[in-house]
Symmetry: C2
Subunit: 351 residues, 2 copies
């Protein structure tokens, strides 16, 4: 039994309490300043407002301002904040974190700055005191929070730069329905986790194009193109992962092919792509999403900035990534969807 604190009470942070409580751990769930309503509901004994489920009764909810004791006494900490909140979380943790405490990041993402592309665990590490003995562990793979909270069989990858830290968190978390596989490829896993949001949008184009000509979702006449987009997405992800220093095998596994499957089947990213395919245009599609966070736009902006710089230096060719290039044109430049199938499935040019 361990004392575990989860910082961030959104859907994924809160869903993670289920496998952890079921393993016998003692859980503190700490809201960020964005989670005040959620913590208020939980303190009042109500269901979790977005998961729409009661949490296990042993879970202790805390407001952000009550967090320091829970963080200081924790044997392990998980961060369930959004990608945008990672720097904030790092600073919030810096005061309370003891060395050697295993730290799990649920947020996924990729940023681009002066040093080039960086994965979120590395961004977080930079925010923590450099003398502290902490190596963040990241999670990747197909996991819809609402399903995990309903104890659906789920397979995820835990990964990081320190194998002992990875195994420590994997050992705390794995259980009868939460299957945790350790990986030593944090770059590959995190790049995949970011990319799948972009490509899930692009795969949604197929359903949108189909609806545009009067077809309805799920009926005949969209699966052939959807499947072709899926295969091209895996091909391009393999190359992007390799370019960024990860193992391309990742892209055919849980972190990309698996997570892309779940994202296409379930999520808002695919719905946004469908609106684009249906011809709503960038502004129309954003409006139709009613204010939902669109990670795909964020990752596409990041990819365009970073990859354009690489192309200027002769280290990248957009022409070898025709699907990605088209997604950038559609989602960022408001060009109509017109999928360049003929450019797909080409071998990369000799360098």
């Amino acid at each position: 039994m361990a004392r575990i604190a989860i910082l961030g009470a959104g859907m994924m942070g809160s869903a993670l309490v289920f496998p952890l409580v079921d393993r016998g751990h003692e859980l503190s769930l700490i809201g960020t300043h964005l989670d005040t309503e959620i913590i208020r509901a939980l303190k009042a004994g109500a269901d979790h407002p977005t998961l729409r489920l009661p949490l296990p009764s042993s879970v202790q909810p805390f407001y952000a301002h009550e967090s320091s004791e829970a963080l200081r006494s924790a044997d392990a900490i998980a961060l369930g904040v959004s990608s945008a909140g990672v720097r904030w979380a790092g600073q919030a943790l810096a005061a309370s974190l003891r060395g050697g405490v295993p730290l799990l990041m649920i947020s996924k993402g990729l940023v681009y700055g002066e040093q080039g592309f960086a994965i979120l665990p590395d961004v977080l590490r930079q925010e923590l005191p450099s003398e502290l003995d902490v190596a963040p562990v990241a999670v990747a793979g197909p996991c819809i929070a609402g399903e995990l909270a309903r104890r659906v069989e789920t397979c995820v990858v835990f990964t990081g730069r320190d194998a002992n830290a990875v195994e420590a968190w994997a050992e705390l978390a794995r259980g009868p329905y939460y299957h945790v596989f350790a990986s030593g490829d944090p770059v590959g896993s995190e790049v995949c986790a970011a990319l799948k949001n972009a490509y899930a949008m692009g795969i949604g184009f197929a359903a949108g194009l189909h609806e545009r000509i009067g077809g309805s979702a799920g009926s005949i006449a969209m699966h052939n193109c959807e499947a072709a987009l899926y295969a091209q997405a895996i091909l391009e992800a393999q190359r992007l992962v390799e370019l960024m220093g990860g193992d391309p095998a990742c892209a055919a596994g849980l972190p990309f092919a698996g997570d892309l499957n779940v994202t296409c089947n379930g999520g808002r990213t695919g719905r946004f792509g469908r609106f684009l395919g249906n011809g709503l245009g960038r502004a129309g599609a954003i409006t139709a999403m009613n204010g939902a966070t669109l990670e795909c736009l964020e990752i596409l902006e990041t990819l365009r900035a970073g990859l354009s710089a690489l192309e200027r230096r002769g280290q990248f060719l957009f022409s070898e990534f025709p699907f990605l290039r088209h997604m950038l044109e559609v989602a960022l430049d408001d060009r109509p969807v017109d999928i360049p199938y003929r450019e797909f499935f080409r071998a990369p040019r000799p360098t």
Copy 2:
């Protein structure tokens, strides 16, 4: 413009007339002895009975006994017979086929015999006179016939042991919505095409398990496990392709990951898996399929026979293919579905 004969008037053979007619070719569609009703309908000017569409009016339908002239005068021939009919088709062709005529096989599959595993183009080649200059070309990738016949954008792979023959057929067939990519890996492509039928069944287990506990298809609480099964399927397919002498990259591309996507979304194989996951048992699931051809059972029998022989010789370990092993137990031995997630995503043992 070329004169093209298609032998076999089932759904896929007949769907192929659309891109070929649209490219300006002159088409003969020849029924096998199983297609008499289809040819009768077409000769009467009715819709194609299973595609439920009229064929382009320039297509000439022929009964099997009328075939020899059409075959003899053809500039290119495609075989749209089922896997089981390949030997028969080879013998039927032997009399009429001229050397140098490009020959496309639409049937996909894998057989196991005294020589080990063999792909269908090689089986067909054996049935043809050895002195004849013919190298069969095979097609792989995600293509639902009913969608191709409605001119949906479709990406497929043409492959074979002779690059010129592959390119000749690709050049005849590729057009504005039928995108043909040439591959020099017939073994990888054909093994993938066969395997995806087996794995599509296994992925269907997830939906069935979900229905069994009262969930309905598409709702929350099945996507996490479905996505994990999908990723494990790609991993096992990569290893099986390599074992059989193909390029494992195939398994992450159109011939497996792409085709598996379409098969899970559309086809009867996934429905059969769902019935098994739902607890109907082997006999119950077969009954529920109302006599539909179940390629998955055929390929699973073939894999068990061939891989067991390899295991006895120390060249294969079923323990490294836990998903395949479980599919064999469920579909062939009538064991209940109980997915061995914990054995998934393991590195192969050192040899």
